[in-house]
Amino acid sequence: MRQMVDFTGTSQKQQQFLQKYIRHHRRVSLVKILILVLFLLQWEVTTRLHLVNSFIFSSPSRILSTCLSMIKSGDLILHIGITLGETLISFLLVTVISISVALLLWYFTFAADVAEPYLVVLNSLPKSALAPLFIVWFGTGFKTIVIAGISVAIFGSIIQLYQAFCQTDPDLYKLIYTLGGKRRHILRYILLPGSRPVILSGMKVNIGLCLVGVVIGEFLAARQGLGYLIIYGSQVFKLDWVLMSILILCLIAMGLYKVVELAEKWYCQRP
């Protein structure tokens, strides 16, 4: 927080205000971390004292040692890499496909009106219901999982982008037409650059949704990846694996979000 506020040459009242602001944020951060530490601590203590069954609930230290040994054998890196790779590929595909489809729908109003009810239905359908179908159609493995990842995010993303395109001020169309432009110029000079904030904020949501889809896919159709590790671990009662994978998924979800957010900040910065 400190680097954001500037004390130089400010009045006493202003300094008091800033100090109060900083104190508030310090307290919030402190409590945030405290909750996490206390949670892990009680988890460890209660399992050590056999108050809860560490076979079912695992414990931070068991998770850590499982984690270390799996890193040493190279298994964990592989599982994480697979899940990450699948998520990133489906995310890239979602981004490219949804922008292209939304642009096409905007360009061809007739197609958009026809497609609307289908998109709405597909978007509200729980995508996990489709996963078994994907297995039958595409087999088990990489392709199915990427498709599962795409299916969760794609329809919402198309709808959101299309709506953003449609809400463009019609006076901007007038501007382009009177400057001698055609519909495709509106697309290039107004829609694409003007929708950058919507595209980027959509990407932040989509990366998380793709991870959800990929894990669902791995539950059903994988031999590798964190989703597979969770399902397999629960079947053979290796709950250390299950809880470790869940914790790693939390970290991945947070990390991916942060990466997209950074990319957004970097991209929105003016030269």
Partner: protein
């Protein structure tokens, strides 16, 4: 002399699901080269519709619009349109906003850039060439919007209440500036405004439109005793008040 633009018996209606909305009925007028015409009339009477017809964004249901004696659809002249909002694109610099027209038309950017810098210099905006629009005041933005229009060398300028979003002081200044620019560049312009005194101080000729479906209720050429007055000077002339009273009366007759 052949007029630059002429309307004869032009009618236009909008078609909506709620029914047909006649906007313009039998409008006839003509506009000479380098003339500055102002359109005034009650809100919703069809002023913007008229400009859209001239810009070729709409086509008349009946009647004829001629540009230099030829039907509008056969002419390849460009109109410069300025609206109430300046519509500068926030993600482009001032210079790049100005170059939007040349980019779209695919003409040489290098030449256009040189021209743009010259115009920015001329209108005291040179320091802002590489600034983004949100760093400019409302009046500066509207001047940039004018340069963006002028750089395409439009045959006719269409100004749809371009000053009405500005505060009063800026509005007088920018109105003054823009009027000077238009006269210096020897442009023909049509200004739509709600402000009678603005119309009188800027234009050579005023048309009062009636309520929708609009027709021309009163045609008033303006003549000041002293020629070449600036818009601000015109406001203090005795003719100003006379014209104001006459136009005010006609405007209210059409309203009532």
């Amino acid at each position: 002399m052949q007029p630059l633009l002429s309307f004869s018996d032009v009618c236009y209606s909008y078609h909506t699901l709620k029914g047909e909305i006649p906007a313009i009925r039998n409008i006839t007028f003509s506009l000479q080269e380098q003339e500055f015409l102002a359109l005034v009339g009650p809100s919703g009477c069809g002023k913007s519709t008229l400009l859209n017809l001239i810009a070729g964004l709409l086509e008349p249901d009946s009647g004829q619009i001629l540009y230099q004696g030829k039907p509008l659809s056969l002419c390849s002249f460009s109109t410069g349109y300025m609206l109430q909002k300046d519509h500068l694109l926030g993600w482009r610099t001032v210079l790049d906003n100005i170059l939007l027209g040349p980019e779209i038309r695919g003409v040489s950017i290098a030449a256009a850039r040189k021209e743009a810098l010259k115009m920015l210099e001329k209108y005291q905006l040179a320091d802002y060439a590489n600034a983004f629009p949100d760093q400019l005041s409302g009046g500066m933005r509207q001047r940039v919007a004018l340069i963006r229009t002028m750089i395409n060398a439009p045959g006719l300028l269409l100004l749809d209440e371009p000053f009405s979003a500005l505060d009063y002081q800026t509005r007088l200044d920018v109105g003054n500036d823009i009027c000077q620019i238009i006269r210096q560049e020897k442009k023909t312009a049509i200004l739509v405004t709600h402000d009678l005194s603005e119309a009188i101080s800027l234009a050579d000729h005023i048309l009062v439109l009636s309520k929708a479906p609009s027709h021309i209720a009163f045609d008033c050429p303006l003549k000041f005793g002293i020629s070449d007055l600036t818009p601000l000077d015109k406001r203090s002339q005795p003719e100003f008040q006379t014209y104001f009273n006459i136009l005010w009366r006609h405007l209210h007759e059409t309203d009532g």
